[in-house]
Symmetry: C4
Subunit: 237 residues, 4 copies
Amino acid sequence: MVVKEDDKIFLDRPIFVWVISGLILFSVLCFSVETLPDLSSETKVFLKYSELLIAVIFTLEYLTRVALSQRRLNFVFSFYGVVDLVAILPFYLAFAVDLRTLRLIRLLRLVRVLKVVRYNTALLRFARAIYLAKEELVIFTGMSLVLLYLSAVGIYHFEHTAQPEVFKSIFDSLWWSVATLTTVGYGDIYPITIGGRFFTFFILMIGLGLVAVPTGIVASALSAVRREDEVSCNLEK
Amino acid sequence: MVVKEDDKIFLDRPIFVWVISGLILFSVLCFSVETLPDLSSETKVFLKYSELLIAVIFTLEYLTRVALSQRRLNFVFSFYGVVDLVAILPFYLAFAVDLRTLRLIRLLRLVRVLKVVRYNTALLRFARAIYLAKEELVIFTGMSLVLLYLSAVGIYHFEHTAQPEVFKSIFDSLWWSVATLTTVGYGDIYPITIGGRFFTFFILMIGLGLVAVPTGIVASALSAVRREDEVSCNLEK
Amino acid sequence: MVVKEDDKIFLDRPIFVWVISGLILFSVLCFSVETLPDLSSETKVFLKYSELLIAVIFTLEYLTRVALSQRRLNFVFSFYGVVDLVAILPFYLAFAVDLRTLRLIRLLRLVRVLKVVRYNTALLRFARAIYLAKEELVIFTGMSLVLLYLSAVGIYHFEHTAQPEVFKSIFDSLWWSVATLTTVGYGDIYPITIGGRFFTFFILMIGLGLVAVPTGIVASALSAVRREDEVSCNLEK
Amino acid sequence: MVVKEDDKIFLDRPIFVWVISGLILFSVLCFSVETLPDLSSETKVFLKYSELLIAVIFTLEYLTRVALSQRRLNFVFSFYGVVDLVAILPFYLAFAVDLRTLRLIRLLRLVRVLKVVRYNTALLRFARAIYLAKEELVIFTGMSLVLLYLSAVGIYHFEHTAQPEVFKSIFDSLWWSVATLTTVGYGDIYPITIGGRFFTFFILMIGLGLVAVPTGIVASALSAVRREDEVSCNLEK
């Protein structure tokens, strides 16, 4: 197997993993509550101290990981090492920077959530399927982008004269393309001319096909990976 | 086979099954009609007596099932035994509790509908496919939740200053995430800034991929289960 | 093969099939144009004579088919015999009935469109896949209906007090369920309470899974049918 | 293999391909910016000269390709030859035609984007899957169109009297069909009668199934193509 096993340290025992996951979720909840308008000063104080506590715990965890790993530099520059560092840095940086950009830096703190990924290895089969279908997915993405742009140009041509305030430029038309081809359809921008409506229908027929394709590609790749596993399983027996 | 056959009693004959199913549907219809405003008093009386009759029939059915089953306690604490009991309890409890909470208890009566499940065994293949793909589905659900939250934070950052009344907090942004990533798009909350729209496009490209994945997983697992069945079928021959 | 070949008569030659298909499409177009408000009297006369001509041609075709088929009664009561008859009957019945119900009868004329189905046999593989997955599709449909109803009851409970004019009864809530779980999301009816929004999220997570399942079932069944064909193909060689 | 290798000329080297792709994207961006209202005259001049430069480069590229290809006429009338010509023609034609139709001709310039397709051969497997499932996809498209029309007629029947201004004719109803069956749901046109809502539910149950089918078809065909490749791979070994 290509997968390298992590060093088994006490921080990777189930009980620690669950406590850390709980803290991550709590920290995310605090971050969300902070955005609520009209918070009482008690809540603000509570949130501030919660954040302090979490930052301390995560820092201790990070330092322990560095200390316990056999090749320290390797850990620091590994994917998980960087994620762990990024998860605690925002707290310390927040003190040095002004308040407006602070909010932007805070977004980085959300990467803590991504640490959940760490504790799961069943993702591998899925990753292999994605790798197997990589080229087809790139082609699909490219074709989708081209279709998005072409449909924006088309609808601009049809609707600009009828609704100059709604379909102002190709950039506004692109927003329509996104909302329509993903079938979200907010209803803030839609065609009203016969030509525009017919064009929408035409584009959607192609667009829904494009959405169906990656689904088929992923399903097909997953089937292939599963079959491969069965064969290698039989051979081992 | 792992499936244990139910005790064949006369209550499981097709004719009874259809009558009971019909009564379940009728009871559900009555429950729905009750919520209509401006009902005549005749209708109200009719609904009341219908409910009484159905409760009596279901009680009799339950008691007969208990009486006829060989291991009574096993039946009472089995999944179907509990469902049957829960389906009749609301009627008797409704007399003892006040009217407002009554409505909540009534929701339980809908579990009657779930009794339909009882009469079908073809679900097993599907259940096996779900079991086979269990871990991948858990991962997918986790990734979806993370994406939902990250997109809520992102859109809050982009739209809060432009629409402070619409994107009030991260919780309102979460509602936008749900409506957008599921492609429902009610149109009550949507981005208007260039940054927010570009972010929406970006998130939707990832989000639609996430929706495509479980479809592929389920399709792949169902294929595997079907192939397994064919092989075991050939071996039996 | 199970497929029975049709009697080869000159009416099934490509040239006739295309002419008849063209007439069907023209007749459908006429029917649509008739619903436009403010038609000139010339157009109305033209539409009237077009319909007369099409009815005459279709009647002649039907009579020829009956006359040329070896077992006439078999043809008259076959699926295509009935479809052909239903496609011309509305024209003759329209004279005897009053104008309001006439419109309803006219809907039947659209069955003409279904005649297109006649000229294609590649549908068989698809039909076999549907037949193979029949039971699973029935279960899925049942589960979807139950979920639709349960979500209607749930949202009624959460939103009725907050929006009594929008979520009037369970029937209005059902309309919300349909628009939401199919991800159409018109935006005429949506939750505004925190509980209702959370419930919507929860229901959509389950609902989108339900949508993914039949896709997987159909894909899996089509794979099985295709594999079957390949095996029987190899055996024939 | 069926695939014919292109003549290897220096214009197909990676460095040239990337430069040309970049110019295509830049040209598309310019075209979009041109549609913005209130452009400064400096921007207009810049855009004009950019377009001139791109047209010159693409013309030179085209002429070089013609000159270097061994069978020149074959290249000129090949798919890529025509695409390359169409990508530069709009610039020269724009001088001869008046301004209003000019905008229409400009749309053709977007075909330049399609040149991206040229530089990728992984599309072949996907093309083979589409070819394999061709007949089923045609049937599906036909059935979708019939369903679209039938649902338009149905909703017209149910809603015309209740909303004569919204569901004016079958053509407006068709717009509703498109927006609903693709689950876009802009919210500009939706049923309000009980019959219309029930009909919508019914049509959506069938319609979502239709959307699931092509996904399954493509997935199944891709699986077959992948299996074929594996088998031929093993045989070569």
